[in-house]
Amino acid sequence: MGNMLFFASALIALAALGVGAIRFFRGPDTLDRVVAFDVITIISISLIAIIGFIMQRSVLVDVALVYALLSFLGVIIIAKFVERGL
């Protein structure tokens, strides 16, 4: 029962990933794509953590932490680039 709830929430998060990807592919502007990328990476962090929970591997939480760090840096750098060039 408890595991089923976690599976259901993982599936809903996966659906959210797909919905965010619509904006990523459609987005008329660069910054629209960056916003969609931000959303996709935040959802992926949750997904990595829950995959670690379902597989009972606590290492995947560390992977999620590093992923969060890299995605944050990526968003900041792209926003800086759009603002006034590197």
């Binding site: 976690f6 629209d32 939480v61 968003v75």
Partner: protein, 132 residues
Amino acid sequence: MEITMIAGGIVSLFGSLFLLLGALGVVRMPDLFNRIQAGTKATTLGTMLFLAGIAIAEPSWIPKLLLLVLFIIFTNPVSSHVLARSAHHAGIRMSDRTVADHLAKAIEQRGSENLQSDGQGAAEVKLKGGER
């Protein structure tokens, strides 16, 4: 054991619903600035609830999950702010229903102040702009 699993599952189900709503907001909102709001605030809460559900079900992971949640709380508003600032700087149009643009007003005010102070301020601003 089973009860903590069910409680954690319900909490993370709520979190995943917030994630879905945030992603829907990113697709449906009319304007880049509205999209930034939808895509950052809703997903921050969603991720926090999601990880809280995992923490309820697996108490030995609490330190790592707390670190992850704190990192997201601190960095997500920063990235939202930077995105909005660079969008405003790049001159992206707002939707027709926008009623207030305080940043544009502030930039205009600062520009006129620099002009009034006998050209020195403007030169300083130019120098700073060159340094960047």
